[in-house]
């Protein structure tokens, strides 16, 4: 069954990622968002500047923008798709909420090990990762429909068992 993406949330974290916000307003991305069925788009722009949203304004997509909020859980909960920076905390929260996730890697950050996590999440089929220039390709129904839910692993249970043995816990 095909997924629908009426509500899309774009989040850049506490710093800025203006490249991503600019990309979202590019005609080919706006078109891709419309094809996905986007009716509402929320942009969390962090400490970045709000650039032109001219192309988005010319569509029927309802646009909402804000800088930062201490808690973005509610925005994640009501969305069908989250387009996120590579912050591990946000990525995990999105996956645990059972939402579709596209991780956009900020190439201007050097030695960014968080990109490794994005690639791993994509390798296990739970997220799509791309750079801003690859966002158009990432926004494909076919790819999004293949995404699998993130299974919270039993790793923590085995870890605690092993720790209990090491420490001699018999309770």
């Amino acid at each position: 069954m095909s997924k629908y993406f009426q509500s899309i949330f774009v989040t850049v974290g506490t710093t800025s990622f203006d490249d991503l916000i600019t990309t979202i307003n590019e005609p080919e991305i706006v078109e891709a968002l419309e094809i996905l069925g986007c009716k509402k788009l929320v942009l969390q722009i962090g400490s970045g500047v709000l650039l032109s949203t001219k192309n988005l304004d010319n569509t029927s997509i309802k646009l909402e923008t804000f800088t930062t909020k201490s808690n973005i859980s509610n925005f994640i909960k009501v969305s069908d798709l989250v387009i996120s920076h590579a912050g591990a905390g946000t990525c995990l929260e999105v996956l645990k909420a059972g939402k579709n996730l596209i991780v956009v890697i900020n190439e201007s950050l050097m030695n960014n090990h968080q990109a490794e996590l994005a690639m791993k999440l994509s390798e296990i089929g739970c997220a799509i990762y791309c750079t801003t220039s690859g966002l158009k390709t990432a926004l494909s129904l076919e790819k999004l429909n293949k995404l699998k839910p993130y299974e919270s692993s039993q790793g923590i249970k085995s870890l605690v068992n092993t720790l209990d043995i090491l420490m001699g816990n018999k309770i």
């Binding site: 591990a88 790793g155 092993t162």
Partner: protein, 176 residues
């Protein structure tokens, strides 16, 4: 059956590190891992808040503040001195408390705590103390600096992704 408790030092590393540690703590048997002594960097208000939430009304815990080893973007040269200062902060603490377990997951703050525990173990002040390091969920292909530094010395070194597995590390899959 005799089941002695394990006095546990928990180093909270700030941000995502603290969030990961809370997942571990939520799965531990509080009655056994008791009392719990939290070590928090003095600038880290959020971690203190998390401890408060987690411990709620329990009385078998205490929070200790130490000098932060290295602020984000702080130069490594000055970080050496702040780490030394943090080491001087926690050495008397570990000496006095004699924990059975030190539980940490990076970043900087855990280094002085672990080295204090290691030295006190070598001089047999705490001969049975175990040190456990859990590498972050974010670390997929390379270890963190704290991980690299502590790996040769700890009793259990946990990694969360397959690429990091070797004979010295324990792997249970991602814990997040």
């Amino acid at each position: 059956m005799n089941n002695k408790k394990a006095k546990t030092v928990i180093v909270l590393g700030s941000g995502g590190h603290t969030a990961e540690m809370m997942v571990v703590l939520n799965n531990l048997n509080k009655a056994f891992y008791s009392p719990r002594l939290y070590v928090v960097a003095n600038t880290d208000k959020l971690s203190k808040e998390k401890v408060k939430q987690f411990e709620d009304s329990s009385s078998d815990h205490e929070v200790f503040e130490i000098t932060r080893s290295r602020e984000v973007k702080q130069r490594f040269v000055t970080a050496f001195f702040t780490t030394l200062l943090a080491f001087l902060n926690c050495f008397p603490l570990i000496w006095k408390e004699r924990p059975d377990l030190v539980l940490c997951n990076g970043p900087g703050t855990c280094i002085p705590v672990c080295f204090a525990a290691l030295i006190l173990r070598w001089i047999r002040r705490i001969p049975k103390c175990k040190i456990v390091f859990i590498e972050s969920f974010c670390r997929v292909k390379t270890l963190s600096l704290s991980g690299k530094l502590l790996k040769p010395f700890v009793d259990m070194f946990v990694v969360q992704w397959e690429d990091l597995v070797d004979e010295k590390s324990s792997y249970f899959g991602p814990i997040m």
